[in-house]
């Protein structure tokens, strides 16, 4: 089992979600996050003063899938979330030791 964490531009969320459902992803967790990479921040204006805002709003998707699905998911996210502009985000993949479905106590692949 693998966990895929993807940081994407907020306006891409709906498209990415629709595509992931199409390729058979069963569920995901979405969080509004802030951060920066090479894009750095932006400026905001309040009462005539410019403020440098280092942390930009992004969306973090967390998806746990079985190993066979990993490449398909990466392909889907990196395809759809891509604009070619700086700030498109990143995808992190890590291993998951165990998954438990709370309702049925199923474990492992059955619970994903």
């Amino acid at each position: 089992m693998k966990k895929i964490e993807a940081i994407i531009k907020p306006f891409k969320l709906t498209e990415v979600k629709d595509r992931l459902i199409e390729i058979g992803v069963q569920g995901m967790t979405v969080t509004e996050v802030k951060g920066f990479g090479r894009q750095k921040g932006h400026t905001e204006l309040y009462r005539g003063t410019e403020y440098n805002i280092d942390f930009l709003p992004k969306i973090k998707l967390e998806i746990v899938v079985i190993e066979e699905q990993v490449e398909k998911v990466i392909e889907a996210i990196s395809g759809i979330a891509h604009t070619g502009q700086i700030g498109d985000g990143k995808i992190f993949v890590s291993s998951i030791d165990e998954t438990i479905r709370v309702r049925t106590k199923e474990r492992g692949k059955d619970a994903v």
Partner: protein
Amino acid sequence: MRCNSAKVMAVGTLFLLGATPAFAETAVSRVDTGDTAWVLLSAALVMLMTPGLAIFYGGMVRRKNILGTMLQSFIALGVVSIQWALIGYSLSFGPDLHGIIGDLSWAGLRGVGLEPNADYAPTIPHQAFMAFQMMFAVITPAVISGAFAERFKFGAYLLFVIFWTTLVYDPLCHWVWAKGGWLHGMGVLDFAGGIVVEINSGMSALAAAWFIGSRRGYPHEPMLPHNLPLTLLGGGLLWFGWFGFNAGSAVASGGLATAAFVATHLATAAAVMGWLLVEWKHRGKPTLLGAVSGAVAGLVAITPACGFVGPVAAITIGLVAGAVCYGAVVAKFRMGYDDTLDAFGVHGIGGMIGMVGTGLFAAVAINAAGADGFFNGGAALLGKQVLGIAVGAAWAFGGTYVILKVLDKAVGIRVTREEETQGLDLAQHGENAYTM
């Protein structure tokens, strides 16, 4: 100038506006139901401005401080109303002692009954005038709280409000508005509170921001408004309530109230545009916070002038106020003080612009109980207005500084470092605005 024969002014204004004076003049003080209805409604409108200010301010602070900030405005309704009934009204409007202060013969509203008081408002019950004035006393210290938002201890704030209202507001109110008050006697014109409310709160705000010091991390760490839609709602409520504040200050229904109503709205509209256009030119983008701030600056600036100037003068005053207050707010970063929500930049500077504007544009043709300003051949009025600004500014700044100094020694006025980091809502009040 709410104090003098409002009916005479009203008739003069009606005539000028081309309306037909429909009522006969009488010298007898008797209750007029129309006037009473308007003043009571106006008092209620002004009351709504304090929660409006709470919402306006609350949107501009960080999310951890919204409740503490809003409570500092809202609680003035509790504290100041009681102070006003017990001693404040008597000190402000009670029988004059040497032009300086009212005596305590009206303490506890003794003798402030349902018969009109001919000196202040000859056609409404004395208590209606008292209640209307009470709402002004309530909102004024609440305005100051914007200067030291996000760092003032709540208990010390309550003490500050009681002392400030008694020692700074009540005397200045007496000087400007009471029968026998010395600035009033000199002919300084302040229709609805340019000195008493705006310069008073604005200069007190400057003293307070300077005395208490900046928020931790200011200005390196961006401290941004967390909910500007709230600020728009609050600004809208202020604009709405300000019709009571200004047009109600005619203390009668009719022509003068109408003239003040129209001037108030036009100046505010012009200030919205003034602020927005200057900001757009200066920074390349027009902002919602700029439009709302411009509205408040215009409302402030037209406050002393609204019952003395015509529509075009009102637009001029508003445009200037919007543009200049923008400049004042931008300049604070260079001055190095953390007037957090710009109480000085908007209320202090806006009030001064309005007082000068009154000195320039006032016309007896609008209000027979006023005077002619500079552009109507009355240079003397401008001098009086500047004197009024200087006295109000010095009194408010000095008085506030002394009160804060004493309070800081006695109980401490600032929250601890940990409390400031945690936020006033949790640290001072044990509650959060936004929970999961």
